[in-house]
Amino acid sequence: MKEEKILVIIKPDAIMRGLIGEVFTRFEKKGFKVIGTKMIELGDILLDEHYSHLKDKPFFAGIKKFMTASPVMLIAATGVNASSAGRLIAGQTAAHEADAGTIRGDLAMSIQSNIVHVSDTTENGEIEVARFFNEDELHSYKRADEIMIYSDVHDEF
């Protein structure tokens, strides 16, 4: 059983449209364990690091403007196969083409205003959680319903 970490960023479009609870609920109900969450304003340093793969693109300034339009909500969550599960419930980046039933398919219309960022791989999950959270902001704890979320991977079940 390999537990992975993911970082979720609830973006300004979701914050300003009153969709924080809706998005948060989807991760909770899916079975992720939220180990850290906080509302913060993103600064240049974090954004440059997080979007380093896009920094030479013409639309980078637009992304920065969008991501700093309001605070964001950060969620650090764990789960077995968390990154693939997270990718699936977020849906495709282009929200207008994302499947119904996904967060983007249900809640958004555009590519930039697509409600969430979710770590897309196991490696990125580790890197991104460490980038946005200090150690003392992450909490390991037992979830009462964990055994029923992973009945096939718990030895004691």
Partner: protein, 211 residues
């Protein structure tokens, strides 16, 4: 509207009232964080600070802020109930009163909570009404406690533990300001405005949406 930001034009600043909310360990455990946030958002309140944390004993004691008179009063109530039940009284009233806070500390420090500052018109009063009465069993249907949980004073007293009621909220704006300082630093409170606030509060919003 400047870029993505909304300038809210209004004469009064009562929309800046706040409420300090703690989603307690049972609320986190039962995956109700999103649902509770959703309710507050739908009502028109704005989150201006939020974080997950494990409370310390000293934070809890400062938060509940009870003095000896309170301990004695509550303790005497407990002694009366014990006498009615023909049980032996082993300690002073003040000790029984202090048990209430000891149990709450045990409950609150037992796992992560989510602390939130909500902002909006009459925020503390609005949130109190949405949360419902302290004892879940007698809380109105439609409130957070009335909809999601079932614990009672009787059950928690018999089992010698705190009432598990999912969420704390401040009683009024003044209490909110006091409690906010226990859980958040000034730097963690964020100033911004949302589209919803403009519709709720802006003096020139009426008739603004015609093309």
């Amino acid at each position: 509207m400047e870029g993505f930001c909304y300038d809210i034009d209004m004469a009064s600043n009562v929309s800046k009232n706040i409420s300090l909310v703690l989603i307690k360990p049972d609320g986190v455990q039962r995956s109700l964080v999103g649902n509770m946030i959703n309710r507050f958002e739908q009502r028109g309140l704005k989150i201006v600070a939020l974080k997950m944390m494990v409370p310390t004993v000293s934070q809890c004691k400062e938060h509940y802020n009870k003095d000896d008179n309170w301990f004695i009063e509550k303790g005497e109530g407990i002694i009366n109930n014990l006498k009615k039940d023909n049980q032996e009284i082993k300690r002073e009233a003040i000790e029984y009163g202090k048990d209430i806070i000891r149990n709450i500390v045990q409950y609150m420090t037992g796992g992560p909570i989510v602390a939130i500052v909500l902002e909006g018109h009459a925020a503390a009063e609005v949130v109190s009404a949405m949360v419902g009465s302290t004892e879940p069993l007698s809380a109105d249907i439609g409130t957070i406690r009335g909809d999601f949980t079932i614990d009672s004073y009787y059950l928690s007293t018999v089992d010698k533990r705190a009432v598990r009621n999912l969420i704390h909220c401040s009683e009024n704006n003044q209490e909110s300001l006091r409690e906010q300082k226990i859980w958040f630093t000034e730097l963690e409170i964020i100033d911004y405005s949302t589209a919803q606030e403009r519709i709720l509060y802006d003096v020139s919003a009426d008739g603004h949406w015609k093309i």
